[in-house]
Amino acid sequence: MINRKFLPLYVTCSLFLALFLAGSVQFDNFFTLRVFVNLFTDNAFLIIAAVGMTFVILSGGIDLSVGSVIALTGVVVSVLLENYQWHPLAAFAVVLVGGTVFGAAMGAIIHFYKLQPFIVTLAGMFFARGLSTIISEESVPITHEFYDDVSMFGFELPGNAWLDASTIISIVVLVAAIIIANYTRFGGRVYALGGDAQSAGLMGVPIARTTISVYAFNSCLAALAGIVFSFYTFSGYSLAAVGVELDAIAAVVIGGTLLTGGYGYVVGTLFGVLIMGVVQTYISFDGTLSSWWTKIVIGVLLFCFIALQRILVAPGAKTR
């Protein structure tokens, strides 16, 4: 017998497979390893960002600054590399630490001043994007050989597919996150916080530490996503990754995590990202939709998924 607890997960997973198969029946060249691996390559940064977002949402919070942190990371890295001739690894260390500190600061404000995450991170979003425009309004191309070397790195897979460094990083992050969420005390605390922060506090969960860590962890992953994104675009640009936070939130929620916190799984998030990715691939394979029909179709598909998920999961699961 399947475990009811994981039902939403199974449903999400099979919906993904169903759409992938639908695409395969409709279009030539869709049912290839290449298209499948592209889903990972193209969305590696989103997977990383969404994994971090999963933790925040599980803890009952939300983080709107993710997209801006990705942009800021890219700008800082590219400026350090191009204008100051830093080595990329040193630049990465700076942005990862910087991202973590930024997240910790937001977490601290949220916790100590009892402000709502939505708004604090919204301010964080303005701040990070504002800072990146101040650092450089123009897009800065990255020309360091290290970037070329890394982008050459990868494994040839059958069917012209290519497993590149970003994909590998995103999978490593995913696996690590699953372990952290379900097999460490920190993970337990995150779920506890999302279940009922007051009770969690009374049960001895260190609320301050957990809140701050969750946001720090998320921003650190956002910075990592920013690094991966900079490999994706070979540049840093203050207007990059606008709205990625909404994509990440959508992926998390489609993956079956409750926005109110406390319920959900990191693996679900992966499927959330893949579902959104396959919808996009589907639309570009189709290639006949005008700009507005593209939006409408994305909306309708999103609706179908969520509706199906509800209908398939609903029996037995109480709404409240």
Partner: protein, 501 residues
């Protein structure tokens, strides 16, 4: 057991909330190996004192010493690290985590640095068996009833205690058997030298397990006694601050069921899938039907069935002789029913809303959104019930979440009394209510019946059931096992029916 070497010593502790002085100059001493009752009326400051001891609130004045050293806990984690473990008044566990995880949260056994789920599940199941709970510990906590949750919380608290164990009204919805099992555990660990603080409103329980008694009134210390030196009568008068004329127990006139008059509510082989087996029973206007049974026997579920929370799958429910089938609680409310649920934290209070709003909302909903109750009328109603139920508050506009547990319960009770119902279902209505108010509430229930209200009351407290029921329905395993009425109603008979002998 010397006073020179107390385990926990609070001196001159004070705590102020905006507008309320919750504690003022309170001394409290807990010695190793003793069971120490902390008593007082609703709102006397018991829970606040406990929260100050364990770092949930920061004291405004005074000192706390643990094993002779001053401590300044700033969160419960600090207290736990010292070996002070607490079961707070409301069930404070996490509904989304599995039962086992709740028991071991924060101290999960690990293997190679990773949580060892197998061990957690095994140990938790083992631990709960000690409290007669054979449940699936991998299910989420929210799956189980409040009483079960309360036992889980106790099991967790006891298991974690290494110096002090604090229990704030742990027995509020437990049945007699469970209470006995708990007392056994308490005596065992006290014998190991752990000090236990025990808050309850059941005075017989105080005398059953406690060595010592501390009484609070209006946030101040009344005194400390050895249990054997304080008579029940003195205890009550110390708590209330006045002599009470005579025992608050009202023995109602229990009429034997007369067969005339139509039943207000009648169940005919009514059943809900998975929660209540087909059963028949009826209540007339002016009657009180008591529901008795052990933990998980189906009392709550019967109430839910009648109120339309759970769907009726079989049989009929007749209200005033007409079959009804509610699809939403709304229809039940409009038909003149009310259900005061047992889980006040999740299904009862509207935390940020005022006491006044919490009280009038059921009446308002019944009237419909258009017929707004004038503010003046609302205030009158609220003031009336604050007085009638002795709700300790300075202001009816205060958010209800700032009241003490017992007072919250009174507000919710008032909500339903104010809603002008014809049939009220009360699930554990006196949970956490102090002795003084307890009597008032029982008197109020009787008075309402005289005015023609039908009542169904589920309670774990047999004494209370005996005090006001005209008829008692005994449930076991979600089946009706007996119906006792009139002069047959006494604790003995009910106990026998429950036990099935």
């Amino acid at each position: 057991m010397t006073d020179q070497n107390p385990l926990l010593a609070l001196r001159g502790v004070g705590k102020v909330f905006p507008g309320v002085i919750a504690l003022q100059g309170v001394d409290f001493t807990l010695r190793a190996g003793e069971i120490h009752a902390l008593l007082g009326e609703n709102g006397a400051g018991k829970s606040t004192l406990i929260k100050v001891m364990t770092g949930v609130y920061q004291k405004d004045s005074g000192s706390i010493a643990f094993k002779g050293e001053n401590i300044h806990p700033t969160c419960t984690g600090d207290a736990q690290a010292l070996g002070i473990s607490t079961v707070y008044q409301e069930v404070n566990l996490l509904p989304n985590l599995s039962v086992a995880h709740n028991v071991y949260l924060g101290r999960e056994p690990r293997k190679f640095g990773l949580i060892n789920w197998k061990k957690i599940n095994r140990d938790a199941a083992e631990l709960l068996k000690g409290y007669n709970l054979n449940i699936d510990v991998t299910k989420p906590l929210s799956h189980y009833s409040v009483a079960v949750q309360q036992l889980i919380a106790i099991a967790r608290g006891v298991d974690m205690s290494s110096g002090v164990l604090i229990l704030d009204e742990p027995t509020a919805s437990l049945d007699a058997g469970e209470v006995q099992a708990l007392f056994k555990v308490m005596r065992e660990i006290a014998a190991k030298g752990i000090g236990i603080v025990f808050v309850t409103h059941f005075l017989d329980q105080v005398y059953a397990v406690c060595d010592r008694i501390t009484i609070l009134r209006n946030g101040t210390l009344v005194g400390e006694w050895l249990a054997k030196d304080l008579s029940q009568h003195d205890l009550v008068s110390n708590m209330l601050g006045k002599e009470i004329a005579h025992s608050s127990k009202t023995t109602p006139v229990q009429q034997d069921e007369n067969e005339q008059g139509e039943a207000l509510l009648a169940l005919q082989q009514a059943a809900a899938k998975g929660s209540v087996e087909p059963l028949s029973v009826s209540v007339k206007a002016g009657q009180v039907l008591g529901l008795a049974g052990l933990l998980g026997s189906g009392r709550t579920e019967l109430c839910k069935l009648v109120f339309g929370v759970d769907a009726l799958n079989e049989g009929d429910i007749l209200l005033n002789g007409k079959p009804v089938k509610f699809k939403h609680t709304r229809e039940a409310v409009l038909a003149g029913m009310g259900l005061c649920p047992e889980d006040r934290k999740h299904d009862g209070i509207f935390g940020p809303m005022s006491i006044r709003e919490n009280m009038i909302i059921a009446l308002q909903n019944k009237r419909g959104w258009w017929k707004y109750i004038p503010l003046k009328k609302q205030k009158e109603l609220a003031e009336h019930y604050v007085k009638a139920l002795k709700i300790a508050t300075s202001d009816i506009e205060k958010p209800i979440e700032q009241l003490s547990g017992g007072n919250q319960q009174k507000v919710i009770l008032a909500r339903w009394l104010a809603s002008e119902p014809v049939l009220l279902l009360l699930d554990e209505p006196t949970r956490g209510i102090d002795v003084g108010a307890h009597a008032e509430i029982i008197a109020l229930i009787r008075q309402l019946c005289e005015q023609g209200l039908g009542l169904v009351v589920a309670s774990s407290e047999l004494e209370e059931l005996v005090a006001f029921s005209d008829k008692v329905l005994v449930l076991r395993d979600r089946k009706k096992v007996a119906e006792i009425s009139g002069s047959q109603i006494n604790q003995q008979n009910i106990m026998q029916a429950i036990a099935g002998s």
